[in-house]
Structures are given as structure tokens and as C-alpha cells.
């Protein structure tokens, strides 16, 4: 480790890092703009200037840029010498020439990196009296607000959006003092990761548009550590609240999972929590079919009356917490509990649990996936099914560039140089899928095959790896690519609802292990707790895995069925579900938003959303992570686990009635089965104290605490108490030096923006000082996963096409699509065909097609894809209109002559009436 001297202080620094990193690691405040820990250095903003001296005798030195200067043994620098600090102040002054004085009305104010740096360099007095440059702002869609006048041309936005996230519709334009960052013409930003611009921009050019509609300053927001419920990746998030509304979601750093970035579903898809479709009261169905609103206690009394000493079944939820699912299972008894997956999903998840417990492959975090030097994706459009993983894969294909750079002796952080060197040379990524995917642009090879053929292809690769060459040369090539890699990664998942694809991916990963490769195998699953729920019902000794279908058949055997946060209609099987509603069985449902299941229930209980409750979810990596309530649910709502616990107490349930605290539920669950033994380690318990205090959800400057509700009542309300978690609804306590699982927001003296994160990291771009949140629940015995080859389904009938699901980051997810902005981006349900088939059917994009599976038919809008496997058609998965379409079904297609192309797909807009 070299030693460098900064202002005569000796620093031990890591080999290969630059001066800026070394200074930040040493806790020194060296200002910067364009450098970003995930994106490296380009030396464009000149803000991190320091003086470097030739030797001890040199007193004059020369100015160098910290981010562009590698550390060398014995090198001497100064941050504080007049030259350096004056230079840095001058840089800020020059940036401020054109920066407007609009902080009071700017969405970045109070968490602005430019404000922080301006104060840090000591630039106080404005000397420039001339006119400032002004720009026209662009409409960039419903998520991002554009205010170009605030730009300081650090180029971070373009480097993030294009270089890091692979977007091609935002670019730097023009030159010198009229540089402009925007699109060629106004329009919705196309990247699924556009929201990170909000956090990447060091000032207020790109801000969170939905947040601006009900804006609060960062210091006035109350936050809690939380886990995104948008998919099974389990990104760590920091949702923030004020006035009882969820205001926004920011990234919460987790070194191994999401790092600095979220997808747009995760960042913007929680608006449904404020929606009018939330249930405000519990309701009991009246004979006329309408609901009578009742208070919480009355609802519990009714439920107890129905449930106590009766035969009760429970349907769990892959988007509910482990604790809530556990309580329901205990309440109704394991034999009467079904997990609430569709039958096909249940089979695949059962297989995935089995695989993860036996595979020799590593089940990687995103951080580990970024080290892959060859990737095979079987059947998954990762960008739309596990979005944040796709962003990681975009970094993994750059390993070729880093390899070339290492040969040249270039450090990785020399971003522009490394990119110039590599141009479009990337590590191999082979995508085998039924339809085009959003990673095709960085793939070395894209192969379009039907789901059965994808599985066959996977098995072919595994065979070829074992030495039995395939007749298909493509298979052999792919096998050779994987065999030539040091760190191959195989990705597949449940999104096609095709067990054969998953099994073939396992075969490849296992075969790579046999070839002495440390292979990685990542299997995407659908919902935030799909894997946790699959673990809960995983009983290797029993084949009894009652499905929803079986339950509905036996519905009349039960007096009551309790449904936990599950819209059963989304699990397929609409006929069976109907039979459940029609049976003489009472249905009690708890959920967050109105849905058909609730409408058909006899008692509905309003559940708290993830932002108002706590729980543990298990991501597809097997990592259990806890979310905490950001604020308390409104009076009549309760977190599902509390509804169930109150019900259990009312029923005097033997095992549950003596539980009171969330921690006790966690402990009971941990004791109940070996797989959950470490559940108690996921996050600190409610008795955790830091310097004798709980962890504050509010910033120390939180204002108006006693007056903010004066519009409702002038009496000062008592501050809500949190007896269930180690967090407090208060500004009292330390926001730093807590365990990683308890980091509600980042702030550090002098660092009000999210860049203060570096003060929480053990080292630049490293894990947090408080460790890395989450506990792995699944450890493999590495005995080798062997899954049977799934028989190929019958061949096609003439004039029939096989349905394959096409997932959409905005639209396929049940909850987020209830957010106006996401609904606008989701657009309408569609049937997706290749250009050739479209021509054959005589349709173009936007026309209608009649899709006829079995004996029904429905009309859907045509979407043309750049590649679709032979004899396949895609359909928008997870859209209400297409819930009855089943992957793998055969359909006929014909042009809908009566189709009227909708004049507009805009559901909500912020562009005024002219654009609707």
C-alpha cells in the first residue's frame, strides 16, 4: 500500500486508486462534480483540483485534478494551499455565472450537491453582473422534470444515461457555453432507468416530476429503510413521507444488491400508496352485495366469530411478508394453507427452491454478476422481469474493456480512456429468448426460439460442454464461449412459466461446474417475496402442495377462506376462483388496493402498504431483507401481520395468542423451520439502541412537527410511538453509525445531497460502515442439482401460434401500474408479432388482432417486435386485459376489421389538454 502525503499528513492508500478517492477515503472534504464512484473519472469539471509537489523541497507545486491523478508512493499533495483552494473556488464561481438564483423554487434545494460544493469552496459573493444563458426545457415524460438552465455541464447525466445505462435518447448537444443535455425532440425518455438522473445530476436539471407535484424539502421528509416491492430483486430503497403521503422513493445503498441505482418501476411505482383505490375502512358484505364500512374492532370481532373453531383455509401471498404468510399458515394450519401462486408458478418455484438448495453454482448478487466474463440468458427479458439485474449485466459486458485496459496499464476509473480503448468490444452475452429483449443491444448473439426450443438449446449447450457436440453449430459455439470464460453466468427464470427452460439452465450451470468453472446461476422469480413464500411451504418430505385449484375444488369443505394480499384473478384460473366465490364459504380478504378478490369477499380488511408496515422478504438471491414502516397507517388500516395476529388472539390460537411484537413473530417463525433460522439476524430487533437512542426517521432539521397538522386541529398531537421497531418517529438520535439495515436516509455535515453516502461507506464504492443489509437464507449443499428434462409439448397445429408472455417493466407488475405515471407508460395490452407475420396477417402497429385461445376470443392491439421466434406470438403479461391468456397456449390470429385505433393512450398527463 503506497503512502502519500496530503498537507504533510501521511496517508496509507490503496494501490491503483486516484487522489480524489484517497482523500475521500481519508475522510477529507475534497469537492467534486463529474466523478461518480460507479462511473469513474473524466476530469471534466475541474472541481477536485489539488496541488501536487515534485518532492519535499518543492514549495510551489502544480495544480492537478484529483480524480485523474493516480496515487504513487511518496507523492505529495495539498488540498488547503491557497492555489488549490482558490482554483476550486474559481471553478464554482465560473459555474455559477450561468446558474440561476432559483434555489428557493428548485426541487433540488436542500439536497443539492452544487449548493454543498459552493459552500465548501467558500464561494460567497457573486461578482458577475451580466446576463445568464437560458435554455428551453424539454418534456421528458411523466417521470423526469427538465430545467436546463441549472446545468453546470458536468456530463454526469449523459455518462450515466448512455454509458452506464445504455440509453441512446439523451445526449450532450452543442458546445462551449451553450451545451445542452436533452433529447433530439421532446418525448418520454426511453430508458427503464431514467429516474437515476434525479440522483446522478448534482443540481436540479433532472428532478423527480411526481415528487414536484407534492413537494417537500429533504429535511422535512420522514424516511425509513425499506425494500422495493416491485420485483424479486429486492433493491434497498428509502421511501419518504410527509403529511401522511408517500412523497418519493430514493435509492438506499446496498453494496451487493442495488448499489447506487434503481429502476423506474422501483423509484416511481409506489404512487398507488396514495391512490383513491386504497381501502379506508374494513367492510362487511351486505346481502345486496355492497359493503358496510365498520371499525377495526368490529371487523376483528366479526372475523373471530366466523373463524373461531371453524374449518378455515388460508391463501398466502408472494407479495406479502414472510411474517404475514407465516401467521396465516399457523392460524389455519399448514395442511389448510396454500401459498397463493398459480399452479404453474408453484411448480417452478418448488423446483427453484430445490435447485438453490443443491446446486454447485453460486447464486450471485448483482455485484457478483458484474464480475461475469461470459453470460448466457435463457428465456428471460431481464430488463423487464428483474430490471436492476439488467443494469448490472450492462456493466458485466464491460469486463472485456477492463481486461484490455489492464493490459495497457490503464486503471478502471479512467472512464473515457477505457471506453475509447474498447469501443464496442464487449464480453460475450448470449440471449436465447422467444422475443426481443432490452439487452439485445449489448448482446454478442441473440437467438429467437420458442420456449420448448430454448430448453432444448440449453440442454444442447450442457451436452456440448460435457463433450458431446451438437449438430447445431450455434449450440457448440455458445458452449465454447462459456467454456472459455473464467467466470461464466447463466440466467434464467420463471417469467416464461416454463419449467424446462429453468431446468436446462441448471444443467448448463452444473455442467460448467463439472468443467471446473466457478459458475454462477441466477434464477429470476416474479414477486418481491415469491422465494420467501416458496421456502415457507417447502417441505421436502411431503408432496402435498395444495394448489389454489385444489383448494377451490374443496371450497365447500371449509367454512372460511382467508386471503392474504392476493388478487386471485391474476393467478389464472378465473373459473375455479369463481367457484370459490360461489361456494357457501365465507371469504375474508385483506389487501392494499381495491381488486376483484376484495369485491367478491364477505369481509374485507384494509391492509397497510409496505411503506406503512414492517416485514421480511426474500429476493431471488435468497437474501432476506427487512422493510420498516416509513409512517403509521391511517387509523383503520393495519399491517396484514397485525390483522392476522389480532385474529389469532381473538381465536385464542394456541401458538400465536401470546405473541404481541413483530420481533416475537419473527422469532416464532425462525423457530418453526430450519430455513428461517437466521430470520432473527436480518435486522436489529426493536430493543436496538445507538448511544441509548433509537434510530431517527426524521432529519435533525425536520420542521413544523408540532404545527404541521394545525390545519386540522390546533391541538398539538402526540408524536406517534413505534414500539415495534428500533426506529423512532423523531429527529432525536444518530443517523450515522447504525447497522446497514437501519439506514433511513443519508446526511452528513456539509454534505446535504445524496453524495453524503461516501461518509457512510467504509471505503469509496465499498460496503457501508454498518455492513451489508440482508441475510442469505438458502445455503446450498452443493450436491449438484439435477432436474428432469421436461417433455416437449405437442407440436403445433397448422395456422396456430404459441403464446409467449412479454413482460413490461411498466405494466406487468400488479401494484405499480396503479400509479398514474406508470399507467401512462404502460399503455394498452398488446399482442406482439414479428414484421413478417404482421404482413401476412395484413396488420401494422396499432391495428387490432383477434386472438382466439380455446373457445374464447379477444381483440388486442398489435405491437411489432424486431424478433419473434418462429410460430410464436407474444402477449403483454400481467395486463388486466390479457390475464386469461396462458403462456404456451395455441391461438389463432385474424385481423380485427372493426378495431378502432384509440386516439390516445394517455391516461394522465402533465402537458395540458392539448396533449390528451
Amino acid at each position: 500500500m503506497p503512502t502519500i502525503y496530503v498537507d504533510d499528513q501521511a496517508l496509507e492508500v490503496a494501490q491503483g486508486e486516484n487522489i480524489l478517492e484517497a482523500c475521500l477515503n481519508a475522510g477529507l472534504d475534497l469537492p467534486y462534480f463529474c466523478w461518480h464512484p460507479a462511473m469513474g473519472s473524466i476530469g471534466s469539471c475541474r472541481q477536485c483540483a489539488v496541488v501536487q509537489y515534485q518532492n519535499e523541497e518543492d514549495t510551489k507545486g502544480r495544480i492537478v485534478m484529483g480524480c485523474m491523478t493516480p496515487v504513487t508512493e511518496g507523492a505529495r499533495f495539498s488540498l488547503n494551499t491557497d492555489n488549490a483552494s482558490k482554483f476550486r473556488e474559481a471553478v464554482v464561481e465560473s459555474l455559477m455565472l450561468n446558474h440561476p438564483h432559483d434555489c428557493p423554487v428548485c426541487g433540488e434545494g436542500g439536497e443539492c450537491h452544487l449548493q454543498d460544493m459552493t459552500v465548501m469552496v467558500g464561494h460567497r459573493d457573486r461578482r458577475y453582473t451580466g446576463k445568464k444563458n437560458t435554455h428551453r426545457n424539454q418534456y421528458l415524460g411523466p417521470l423526469i422534470h427538465h430545467e436546463m438552465n441549472r446545468c453546470i455541464t458536468c456530463y454526469r447525466c449523459e455518462r450515466y444515461y448512455r454509458d452506464y445505462a445504455g440509453g441512446n435518447d439523451l445526449a450532450a448537444q452543442a458546445s462551449h457555453d451553450h451545451v445542452y443535455f436533452g433529447r433530439h425532440e421532446e418525448g418520454v425518455l426511453q430508458s427503464e432507468f431514467s429516474g437515476n438522473l434525479v440522483e446522478v445530476c448534482p443540481t436540479g436539471v433532472f428532478t423527480d416530476k411526481p415528487f414536484l407535484k407534492h413537494y417537500s424539502r429533504k429535511w422535512d421528509l420522514q424516511s425509513a429503510p425499506s425494500i422495493c416491492s416491485g420485483c424479486a430483486v429486492g433493491c434497498n430503497i428509502a421511501p419518504a413521507e410527509r403529511y401522511g403521503k408517500l412523497k418519493r422513493v430514493h435509492n438506499r445503498y446496498n453494496h451487493e444488491v442495488n448499489g447506487y441505482f434503481l429502476c423506474d418501476r422501483g423509484r416511481f411505482g409506489s404512487g398507488y400508496i396514495n391512490s383513491d383505490s386504497r381501502l379506508d375502512y374494513a367492510g362487511i358484505k351486505k346481502p345486496d352485495g355492497s359493503f358496510m364500512a365498520v371499525h377495526q374492532q368490529q371487523a376483528i370481532d366479526t372475523a373471530v366469530e366466523w373463524v373461531k373453531n371453524k374449518k378455515v383455509a388460508g391463501i398466502g401471498s408472494p407479495r406479502g411478508s414472510i411474517e404475514a404468510n407465516y401467521l396465516l399458515r399457523e392460524l389455519v394450519g399448514a395442511a389448510n394453507f396454500v401459498p397463493g401462486f398459480s399452479d404453474r408458478e408453484a411448480g417452478i418455484l418448488k423446483a427453484i427452491v430445490r435447485i438453490l438448495k443443491t446446486t454447485t453454482a453460486i447464486n450471485p448478487s448483482i455485484k457478483q454478476m458484474e464480475t461475469a466474463d461470459a453470460i448466457l440468458i435463457l428465456g428471460e427479458d431481464v430488463t423487464n422481469t428483474a430490471p436492476r439485474v439488467a443494469l448490472g449485466l450492462r456493466q458485466a459486458v464491460r469486463n472485456k474493456a477492463f481486461e484490455l485496459a489492464a493490459q495497457m496499464g490503464l486503471p478502471q476509473w479512467q472512464d473515457a480512456a477505457v471506453r475509447n480503448l474498447a469501443q464496442d468490444q464487449r464480453s460475450p452475452m448470449i440471449i436465447v429468448s422467444a422475443t426481443d429483449t432490452r439487452l439485445d443491444d449489448v448482446a454478442s448473439q441473440c437467438i429467437s426460439l420458442s420456449p420448448d426450443d430454448i430448453a432444448a438449446f440449453g440442454y444442447g449447450v450442457a451436452e456440448a460442454l460435457s463433450g458431446r457436440k451438437s449438430q447445431d453449430e450455434m449450440v457448440n459455439q455458445v458452449a465454447a464461449v462459456l467454456a472459455g470464460a473464467n467466470n461464466p453466468l447463466v440466467i434464467s427464470g420463471a417469467s416464461m412459466l416454463h419449467e424446462g427452460i429453468v431446468n436446462s439452465a441448471v444443467a448448463v450451470a452444473e455442467q460448467l461446474h463439472s468443467c471446473d468453472k466457478p459458475s454462477m446461476l441466477s434464477l429470476c422469480v416474479a414477486e418481491s417475496n415469491s422465494l420467501g413464500l416458496a421456502l415457507l411451504v417447502d417441505d421436502p418430505n411431503s408432496d402435498a402442495n395444495m394448489s389454489i385449484a385444489n383448494l377451490t375444488k374443496q371450497a365447500s369443505d371449509f367454512d372460511v377462506v382467508i386471503v392474504l394480499e392476493n388478487s386471485l384473478e391474476r393467478r389464472g384460473l378465473s373459473e375455479q376462483i369463481d367457484s370459490l366465490y360461489k361456494a357457501n364459504t365465507k371469504v375474508i380478504s385483506m389487501d392494499i388496493l381495491e381488486n376483484t378478490t376484495l369485491a367478491n369477499s364477505d369481509l374485507v380488511l384494509p391492509a397497510a402498504s409496505y411503506a406503512e408496515s414492517q416485514g421480511t422478504v426474500v429476493n431471488s438471491e435468497g437474501r432476506a431483507q427487512r422493510y420498516f414502516p416509513v409512517y403509521q397507517p391511517s387509523t383503520e388500516r393495519l399491517p396484514s401481520w397485525q390483522w392476522l395476529l389480532k385474529l389469532a388472539v381473538g381465536c385464542e390460537h394456541g401458538g400465536l395468542a401470546n405473541l404481541e411484537y413483530f420481533d416475537q413473530v419473527v422469532a416464532a417463525c425462525a423457530n418453526s423451520q430450519a430455513a428461517f433460522g437466521r430470520l432473527v439476524d436480518v435486522a436489529p430487533m426493536r430493543d436496538y439502541r445507538n448511544q441509548g437512542l433509537k434510530v431517527p426517521r426524521q432529519t435533525h432539521r425536520y420542521s413544523g412537527r408540532t404545527a404541521m397538522h394545525a390545519g386540522v386541529s390546533v391541538h398539538e398531537p402526540q408524536q406517534p410511538q413505534d414500539s415495534q421497531s428500533p426506529l423512532t418517529f423523531s429527529m432525536e438520535g444518530l443517523n450515522r453509525e447504525s447497522p446497514a439495515a437501519l439506514m433511513p436516509y443519508v446526511w452528513s455535515p456539509g454534505w446535504n445531497s445524496n453524495q453524503s453516502l461516501q461518509k457512510f461507506q467504509a471505503e469509496v464504492d465499498g460496503p457501508l460502515k454498518g455492513g451489508t443489509a440482508g441475510v442469505h437464507l438458502i445455503s446450498s449443499d452443493a450436491s449438484g442439482a439435477v432436474e428432469p428434462a421436461v417433455p416437449i409439448t405437442p407440436t403445433l397445429k397448422p395456422h396456430h401460434w404459441r403464446l409467449v408472455p412479454v413482460h413490461q417493466v411498466h405494466g406487468s407488475d400488479e401494484m405499480s401500474v396503479n400509479t398514474d405515471e406508470i399507467a401512462q407508460l404502460a399503455g394498452r395490452a398488446f399482442i406482439a408479432v414479428g414484421a413478417k407475420l404482421a404482413e401476412k396477417l395484413g396488420v401494422t402497429e396499432g391495428d387490432g388482432l383477434i386472438v382466439a385461445p380455446h373457445n374464447t376470443e379477444l381483440s388486442l392491439q398489435v405491437k411489432i417486435l424486431s424478433r419473434v421466434a418462429k410460430n410464436c406470438v407474444g402477449f403483454s403479461a400481467g395486463y388486466l386485459e390479457t390475464l386469461d391468456l396462458q403462456p404456451g397456449d395455441l391461438v389463432t390470429l385474424s385481423k380485427d376489421e372493426a378495431w378502432v385505433q384509440p386516439t390516445s393512450t394517455v391516461i394522465a398527463t402533465d402537458r395540458g389538454p392539448a396533449h390528451v
Binding site: N168, D169, A171, Q173, E185
Partner: protein
């Protein structure tokens, strides 16, 4: 039909066969299609005088770039015109040598005679005026280019001669 309405028309038919041949020739010299971006812009500008949104989109499509990426290049260079210009573009040097030799006054003279400022085009669409940092002819400062011709040792009389009595103008390299 304006550009905005044209945006989603068939971009493949925008560029002429002659333009495409010239672009193809440039493409044969570069390893990446986007490497021919500047030349393609120059080729189309040579034919049409400027680069319209529609031309830009057509070139981008042909070079397999996004319109944003090509826009970044087109707007970076101030000799690629993203707005219509006059028949002749006056590239007026305002760099240090010309400034020492009094280019400010000459520029004022041009504005007086032609009635245009930097970035503007005369009403008869004959001339546009654009500043450039240097034309490499400091020994003959102040200088400017009118169309393809370099005009040196500028003074008020020469400006009058050039723009008020065009018949007398006979080349420029004096």
C-alpha cells in the same frame, strides 16, 4: 409540411441516391458506421445548404445511430448548420489577431451594410453571418470568408465594395 409533421414519414426515402453513394464511400473508410457521421452531415449539407430535422433523422437511421447521438455531433460543430442559411455564409474571424487589427469595427460595418448580426441571415437569403475563432490567416488580419473565398486585409471600403457593389467584387484574394 413542416419538420414536426414529417418526423414519422419514411426516413429511408429522404436521402438522394447521390447522397447515399457519397456517404457509402465514406463508410468504406471507417470501422464504425457512426465514424462517418461528420462526413455524412457535410455531404447532405453540401447538397441542401443545411441539415433539417428530417435530414438528421434520415442520416442517423442510415448510420444506425440515435437521432440524439447525431444531434450531439451536428450541434457541436458550428459549421454544420441546423437552421437554414443564406446562399453564402460569412465566417467572420473575431480571434485575437483580427481583434488587434480592429475586427470589431469591421463587424459593425457588415451589420450596417447587410443589416444582420451574428447568427442572422439577410432578408434576400443571400448572406448569413457567423463568427469563427481563426481562419489561419493572421498575417493578413482582419480576415473573413465569404462562401468559399477568403477575404483579407479587411477595411470599411472593402466591405462596401463586397456587399454594396457586387459587380465590382472579383474574387477576394487581394
Amino acid at each position: 409540411m413542416n419538420d414536426a409533421q414529417m418526423i414519422h414519414t419514411d426516413l429511408d426515402s429522404v436521402l438522394s441516391a447521390e447522397e447515399l453513394t457519397a456517404i457509402d464511400r465514406e463508410l468504406s473508410h471507417v470501422p464504425y458506421k457512426s465514424g462517418a457521421a461528420i462526413d455524412a452531415l457535410k455531404i447532405v449539407q453540401a447538397k441542401r445548404g443545411w441539415i433539417s430535422d428530417q435530414s438528421l433523422q434520415a442520416i442517423a437511421k442510415y448510420l444506425e445511430m440515435s437521432a440524439e447521438e447525431l444531434e450531439g455531433i451536428a450541434t457541436f460543430y458550428n459549421l454544420i448548420y441546423r437552421r437554414p442559411v443564406g446562399k453564402k455564409v460569412i465566417l467572420f474571424c473575431d480571434s485575437v489577431s483580427c481583434w488587434i487589427c480592429g475586427c470589431d469595427g469591421i463587424k459593425q460595418k457588415i451589420t450596417d451594410v447587410l443589416g444582420i448580426n451574428y447568427g442572422e441571415t439577410t432578408e434576400d437569403k443571400e448572406y448569413s453571418l457567423i463568427p469563427v475563432p481563426c481562419l489561419g490567416a493572421c498575417d493578413k488580419a482582419p480576415v473573413m470568408m465569404v462562401g468559399d473565398d477568403l477575404v483579407t486585409h479587411l477595411d470599411d471600403a472593402k466591405i462596401d465594395e463586397l456587399f454594396t457593389d457586387k459587380a465590382k467584387y472579383s474574387g477576394g484574394n487581394t
